[in-house]
Amino acid sequence: MKKIYMLKYFISFLTLTLCLSNFSQEKTKDSLYKSTYGLKLGIDLSKQIRMLTEPDYKGLVLIGDYRFSEKIYIAFEIGSEEKLVENEVLNFNTKGSFFKTGINYNIFKNIQDLENEIYIGFRFGSAQFDHQINSFTIYNTDQYWSQNNIKNPISHDNLIASWLEFIVGFNAQVVKNLYMGLNLKVNRLLSQKTPNNFNNLYIPGFNKVLENNNVGVGFSYTIQYQIPFFRKVKN
């Protein structure tokens, strides 16, 4: 039911953005090309794709950026994730929300009046989250008492983490003011509040955390609508 609801949400969102893009400005046939400055708002669709492929995952991430100068965009991201992590010895839920802010630097030189972006950038991210351990296995090579599976819910609440992300991606304008993009990120944990007698194995917004190093990876598939503020002649 939830999936259908989410799909409906997307379809209506897409229709809305397509309708909005019809109100595009007339082209000025200047010899000088102008580029649009505005605020982009959208969604990270990779989370919805993940919800369809991973049954124990829920996530909603809103993204946006504001064009600060010709090449610099101030980017932000806000989201909420819930994930059931299950392996041979652990079964736990992580639930929480996160916020990221940073800068994108456009390295792509657009020809004529095209407005695409290939950017590199960084984000500072922070998350607040809870873990709930549902069951676990006692690591015991001796199976004499066959009592190694423990079903005992343990909660670890109000945990926090912060990290730095390096990001590489592109945004392509598919129709006027509607952008689709893809980006890859490498994350590095800066600080975290680890639970007593457990570890932060998954952090919302950060993704899977490895225990032997503090580097993580992620990717996003984004769709954004740009609210144009003004147009400025390209340098």
């Binding site: 392996n87 010895v89 652990l90 676990f136 296995t137 006692i138 690591y139 015991n140 090579t141 001796d142 004499y144 008492w145 009592q147 190694n148 423990i150 005992n152 590489v168 890859l184 490498v186 007698n197 457990f198 570890n199 194995l201 490895l210 225990e211 032997n212 990876v217 990717f219």
Partner: protein, 160 residues
């Protein structure tokens, strides 16, 4: 274009190698309770002849051999584990040998190890009781180490 495909390759590589998903055998598992059998008079390690160790209400015999020390597993989520220690047991004759019932009372803790290994149990021995019968072969016990966190040393001395 070349750069982009290189990036994708790097990304896939980072996704595929997850070394912390394997529980290495070098990581110590839940410790057993190490029993040492000592001579009541000399205080020296002394072998118990044909010792059978079996958990109470467990149909499987844990061990049957002549030994002077052994590690036995304690239950992970109960405060009491009971074993029967039978000296001079003959596997061809049921009810042979001298059977003593021993009660281990303890507190247990589940300690987180890692994503791949999960948790281990550590124990805090409270007391050990030998059930009285007409002829106990176990004369006395002594707790050497109350905290059972590894298997390096003998935790409990059993005098006979």
């Amino acid at each position: 274009m070349k750069n982009k495909s290189l990036l994708i390759c790097l990304f896939l590589f980072l996704l595929s190698c997850e070394p912390d998903d394997i529980c290495l055998s070098s990581i110590e598992d839940t410790p057993k309770l190490i029993l040492g059998f000592y001579d009541q008079n000399t205080g020296e390690l002394k072998e118990v002849n044909n010792l059978k160790i079996q958990g109470l209400s467990n149909e499987e015999i844990y061990t049957y051999q002549t030994i002077d020390s052994i590690g036995i597993p304690l239950k992970n989520s109960e405060n009491l584990t009971v074993y029967t220690l039978t000296k001079d047991f003959n596997e061809n004759t049921s009810n042979s040998g001298n059977e003593d019932k021993i009660y281990f009372n303890y507190n247990y803790n589940w300690n987180y190890i890692s994503r791949a290994c999960g948790f281990i149990t550590t124990y805090d021995i409270q007391d050990i009781i030998i059930k009285n019968d007409s002829e106990n072969w176990i004369l006395n016990t002594e707790i050497i180490e109350t905290n059972i966190i590894d298997e390096k040393n003998i935790h409990v001395k059993i005098f006979h």
